[in-house]
């Protein structure tokens, strides 16, 4: 009986203890039970936060390191100040070199050549230099000046080829004054430059022949559209040429020719002339030029002269011919009224003659510019026929020439020319000089 009572008491004590423990746990508010999956998720997020914190600490360390390398504020300000000063200096230099509203350009051309003539004509090298000064003083005002330095004999000759001021009056009219290339002479005005002329020498009659190369005076010129065509014109007044009549100062063969460089206007005559060019299609230009003047020497009877010129230019790039065809032609006439030369009989006069001369040239060139071969596309064969008729004048000869040439273009304005010329003269003063020409010419 007592044993049962002891065992029952022990069981009741154990149960009470367990019950009390359970109650204690139920009332401990710091302990929370959560599902295992949620616990694992929280664990993962905690780990992620720890890693991000680690990265931020590293970034902060790097920033602090780089901040240590940045110059102190004072040094930065100094560097900026120095830079600003340099910029100001450079700006001033640029401003000082700015040309302002006027613009100047030095351009021109030059050449070096060799000529060998048979029948006692001799061999010689030559060189020329033609600087051209262009000064654009405003949108309407231009000054053009050209010098020519040339080797002659034992000297270097320096000549003023051109010195002209031009004023653009309106869309179609420009006024010019000074010394300018003769507008009536198409070859001189457009073709005579060494890098433009397709042969090493110049054609008879049109250059150093029947017409002047330059005149001193004033001109009006311009271009006028005529529907799909165009008209170019130039009219001028200038010092008249001086007729060579004085047998004591000129050779007999030069009697009746002109001294075109009549800068002092001996004779005090004025020449009036001009040229009109018509372009029916862009590739073709035909022109007519003239010059009239009195040319009698002081105190003599009235003697008038008339010079005329017709010219043609045809330039076309042909796909069929795979290149550029260039045809140029010009014919000139010079007429002087009858005059009694050598009145004192110093050279067997007095005598007079029909002072009519004419001459000109035809030239054909072809450049295979569309051929793909790099050498062939720069080659340009040229052929020219030129003549001068004056056998009935004291000059005493007619001349005909056939010139065959081959050019090689190094660039659009640099060319090497080679040519052979067959020369034929007739008349009492005839001479004959076939010639070989070589020339290197460049424009710049």
């Amino acid at each position: 009986m007592k044993l049962i009572q002891v065992i029952s008491g022990a069981c009741m004590l154990a149960a009470t203890t367990i019950l009390v423990s359970a109650q204690d746990q139920g009332t401990n508010k710091d302990v929370v039970t959560i599902p295992k999956a949620q616990y694992q998720k929280m664990l993962d997020e905690h780990q992620k936060l720890l890693e991000e914190m680690k990265e931020m600490k590293a970034f902060k360390a790097r920033m602090e390191e780089s901040m240590k390398k940045v110059a102190p504020q004072a040094e930065t300000d100094q560097a900026l100040n120095d830079l600003e000063k340099e910029v100001k200096v450079v700006k001033q230099m640029a401003k000082d070199s700015f040309p302002g509203t006027t613009k100047m350009l030095l351009t021109g051309y030059g050449s070096a050549g060799f000529t060998a003539q048979d029948h006692g004509g001799g061999n010689s090298f030559s060189a020329t230099f033609n600087p051209i000064f262009l000064w654009k003083m405003s949108d309407r005002l231009l000054f053009e000046g050209e010098l020519e330095a040339e080797l002659e004999g034992h000297d270097t000759s320096l000549a003023l080829e051109m010195a002209q001021i031009s004023y653009v009056m309106n869309d179609y009219l420009t006024l010019g004054a000074g010394k300018f290339l003769n507008p009536m002479n198409f070859f001189v005005e457009r073709q005579h430059m060494a890098w433009v002329n397709k042969l090493p020498d110049k054609p008879l009659a049109v250059y150093d022949g029947l017409l002047s190369e330059a005149v001193v005076g004033a001109q009006l010129r311009g271009g006028v559209p005529l529907g799909p065509t165009k008209l170019g014109y130039a009219f001028y007044v200038a010092n008249a040429p001086e007729l060579q009549t004085d047998s004591s100062s000129v050779s007999a063969t030069d009697l009746g020719t002109f001294e075109f460089d009549n800068f002092d206007n001996v004779g005090k005559h004025v020449a009036v002339g001009g040229r009109v060019g018509f372009l029916p299609i862009p590739e073709l230009e035909v022109g007519y030029g003239f010059q009239v003047s009195s040319v009698d020497p002081p105190g003599g009877d009235s003697v008038n002269s008339l010079m005329q010129s017709v010219d043609l230019s045809y330039v076309r790039e042909s796909s069929r011919l795979k290149g550029i065809v260039n045809l140029k032609a010009q014919w000139v006439w010079s007429h002087v009224d009858k005059f009694a030369y050598d009145p004192d009989g110093a050279i067997g006069g007095p005598f007079s003659f029909n002072n009519n001369r004419d001459g000109g040239y035809v030239q054909l060139a072809y450049r295979p510019s569309r051929v793909e071969n790099a050498v062939i596309k720069n080659l340009e064969p040229v052929f020219r026929y030129d003549m001068l008729n004056q056998v009935h004048t004291p000059s005493g000869f007619d001349e005909q020439r056939y010139t065959i040439g081959l050019n090689y273009w190094l660039s659009p304005s640099a060319v090497i020319k080679a040519a052979y010329q067959f020369d034929h003269q007739t008349g009492p003063n005839a001479e004959r000089h076939n010639a070989v020409f070589l020339q290197f010419a460049t424009g710049f």
């Binding site: 613009k103 949108d139 005090k268 659009p412």
Partner: protein, 107 residues
């Protein structure tokens, strides 16, 4: 008498040139820059003319000499060259403007 004839010829020539000059001076002058407020027609004309710049360059320049690259000169130099060529080659104002614009835009 001859000097009188020469003086008379000079006077006639200068008078004729002055008359021609005055007559042509009355023609309109193309401004260097287009005025504001152009009509659509004039704008179209300008566009068409601009397209013609390369063509005018090839035709007018190629008539006398090989065509130089637009890179041969700077814009300021082309200003000078084209005015010189306008005088020498009798370019109209429109041709001058179109060719100059093309040379400047082509490099």
């Amino acid at each position: 008498m001859n000097s009188k004839k020469g003086a008379c010829l000079t006077a006639i020539s200068l008078t004729a040139m002055a008359v021609i000059g005055v007559a042509l001076a009355g023609c309109s002058t193309t401004p260097p820059t287009a005025p504001a407020g152009d009509s659509a027609a004039s704008t179209q004309k300008k566009v068409a003319a601009g397209v013609a710049g390369p063509q005018l360059w090839a035709q007018n320049c190629g008539r006398c000499h090989n065509i130089r690259s637009p890179n041969s000169y700077s814009d300021a130099q082309w200003d000078v060259v084209l005015l010189h060529m306008r005088v020498r080659a009798n370019l109209t104002a429109e041709e001058h403007k179109q060719i100059l614009a093309f040379m400047k835009s082509a490099h």
